[in-house]
């Protein structure tokens, strides 16, 4: 069984009878068993997935119409709720939490007969960009297990890259889908804010985070977006989807104007990443687009703004973890209320604790004007700068991450160095714009992704450009 086919090739194969959903899902679970000891992409694996796939085969044989996913094996980041399954958020605090309901994205995929194969590893409560802050140990990059797979959706990206699923769902607060997609050489998508329902996603920073797909091809991402995007009465921040992400994907980019963001390609960029970016510009121009530099002055302040806002929102969101409504087995007898909560929260990891302390500090009386309010103002001005840029350009281009994938442990003790890895990705979150990471090059065995951004609700146009760029490259296979 060839597990390396795309999600769409799988669906086509099941529909035309050349692939058995049961066999494919069984082989996928075997692949997880074979490689996940080294990769540690999964926190839980669903053995019952094979039974669900068998049912899909039976329904097809009996002439019944099945959903567009046709039993496609999909992994899900462990901060997205699936009924009756654990949702740990990579935290000891939620080690035993079982969700009583499905996230909207899960319901929509279920309606199209997707099969979930398990939940993937992540930095605790999505706070990190390497998965090293998972309470259950880090994931490893399938390209080189001494490297981080990126994060916080590192398990999702690694699972797609290592053929442990056909596609995955992650969440992207400041690049948490695109960063690991770049590090693991898969496609990672952050939609326009509101395009995908966040109902059932465990909240970290509500005002900027989004669920996004990770897949092996841009077409697979467009297909998944067609399934999961659109307004949801359970999430008032959602917007209607135009749909047609897959159907128009081969429209090309002839005549498009693309801005290369100078603040994302300058100081601190790795030479191999800079070279790949120049190559991407040449290839896009070769497809009929015109490229020129554009300056977004506020990008310099975007990372500080991002961490200030997310720490504040995280401080508020994590206040719900009092171990009474959600939590682990820790008796209440003999404790006063506040001391019980303090004691229970000792299960939070060091990074989450640091961010909670930051989240208490930056919006506090005496400091809010200096940090939180300024961060909101930078966010506002950055959004306006992006608006001006999109009056002139159809798309913006940058490398997804300015550095190559780095080793496990290399940056764990240097929070500011880690912050700066996010510099090219947080802008899309702060401004609500859609962005995609496309696998573009491999340097010394380390993948490099290119990021394209578009104006709000231009997701279809963005995917068309991503597909066009993807078609210009032939990358080596992941050495797993």
């Amino acid at each position: 069984m060839n597990l390396k086919i795309s999600a769409l090739e799988y669906a086509e194969g099941v529909q035309n009878g050349s692939i058995s959903a049961e066999d494919f899902v069984a082989c996928t679970l075997e692949q997880i068993e074979k490689v996940d000891e080294k990769i540690h992409a999964f926190l839980s694996v669903y053995e019952g997935a094979v039974d669900k796939a068998r049912d899909i085969d039976k329904r097809i044989k009996s002439g019944e119409t099945v959903g567009a996913c046709c039993g496609m094996p999909i992994s899900v980041k462990d901060n997205i709720c699936i009924t009756g399954e654990k949702t740990t958020c990579g935290s000891r605090m939620l080690e035993d939490y079982v969700s009583p309901y499905d996230a909207t994205v899960i319901s929509r995929l279920r309606d199209e007969d997707a099969v979930f194969v398990g939940k993937t590893n992540m930095d605790e409560f999505a706070m990190g960009l390497t998965t090293e802050f998972s309470a259950f140990g880090p994931s490893y990059n399938p390209w080189d297990t001494s490297l981080t797979p990126g994060g916080s959706s590192g398990g999702s990206a690694a699972s797609v890259s290592a053929f442990e699923c056909s596609a995955s769902l992650g969440s992207d607060t400041g690049g948490s889908v695109r960063n690991p997609a770049s590090f693991c050489s898969v496609v990672g998508y952050k939609p326009t804010y509101g395009l995908i329902s966040r109902y059932g996603l465990v909240s970290y920073a509500n005002s900027i985070e989004q669920i996004g797909p990770l897949s092996r091809t841009v077409k697979d991402t467009a297909f998944l977006l067609d399934v999961i995007a659109g307004s949801d009465p359970l999430d008032n921040t959602t917007v209607d989807s135009t749909g047609g992400y897959l159907s128009g994907i081969e429209s090309g980019i002839e005549g498009k104007k693309i801005g290369l963001v100078s603040e994302m390609t300058g100081e601190g960029i790795d030479s191999a990443v800079a070279s790949a970016t120049s190559s991407a510009v040449s290839k896009l121009e070769g497809l009929g687009a015109t490229c020129e530099e554009v300056s977004l002055d506020m990008v310099k302040y975007s990372v500080a703004s991002y961490y200030t806002i997310t720490a504040t929102e995280a401080g508020s969101n994590l206040a719900r973890y009092d171990n009474l409504r959600y939590g682990y087995d820790f008796g209440v007898e003999g404790y006063e209320f506040n001391s019980y909560i303090e004691r229970a929260r000792s299960k939070f990891g060091a990074e989450v604790t640091r961010r909670m302390i930051l989240g208490g500090f930056v919006p506090s009386a005496g400091h809010a004007g200096r940090y939180f309010l300024k961060a909101l103002k930078v966010k506002s001005k950055l959004s306006r700068e992006m608006g001006h840029a999109f009056e002139k350009f159809d798309l913006l281009l940058s490398p997804t991450v300015p550095v190559l994938p780095f080793g496990i442990g290399d940056k764990i003790d240097d929070p500011v160095s880690l912050f700066l890895v996010d510099i090219n990705t947080v802008t899309a979150n702060l401004t609500g714009r859609p962005a995609v990471s496309v696998p573009f090059a491999v340097s010394g065995g380390r993948p490099i992704g290119m990021q394209l951004m578009a104006d709000s609700m231009r997701d279809a146009e963005l995917l068309q450009a991503a597909f066009a760029l993807e078609q210009t490259v032939r990358l080596p296979e992941v050495p797993i």
């Binding site: 035993d96 079982v98 009583p100 009465p233 359970l234 008032n236 506020m298 310099k300 302040y301 990372v303 500080a304 703004s305 961490y307 200030t308 401080g315 206040a319 009092d322 171990n323 009474l324 409504r325 939590g327 682990y328 087995d329 820790f330 008796g331 209440v332 404790y335 006063e336 209320f337 506040n338 019980y340 909560i341 303090e342 004691r343 929260r345 000792s346 939070f348 604790t353 640091r354 909670m356 302390i357 930051l358 208490g360 500090f361 930056v362 506090s364 200096r370 940090y371 309010l373 300024k374 961060a375 909101l376 103002k377 930078v378 506002s380 001005k381 240097d414 929070p415 500011v416 912050f419």
Partner: protein, 89 residues
């Protein structure tokens, strides 16, 4: 600079207890010092935008039946009540 006492105070407000507050001073200070870059952003006159949503646009607050007993998802309950620690010292 944030002192160990300030970290202890904020942690208390956030209801977090850690064994060694001094271990947090260096990294939290590094983070806060990095945020000082916001001072040079020149955004003092910038307005912070917000979106208004009318009450009629919000979803209806309706009862959704649950096929099961939600309280059984809790670790500590007795009958129909959540068990919590006592509120006074």
């Amino acid at each position: 600079m944030v002192t160990e006492d300030e970290i202890r105070h904020v942690a208390g407000l956030m209801k977090i207890k850690v064994d060694d507050y001094s271990g947090y001073v260096e990294k939290v200070n590094a983070m806060i010092s990095y945020f000082d870059i916001l001072d040079s952003a020149g955004v003092e006159s910038e307005e912070i935008p917000f979106h208004e949503i009318s009450v009629s646009s919000l979803r209806e607050d309706c009862h959704v039946p649950f096929d099961g007993s939600l309280i059984e998802h809790l670790k500590h309950y007795r009958g129909a009540y959540v068990r919590a620690p006592k509120m006074s010292r």
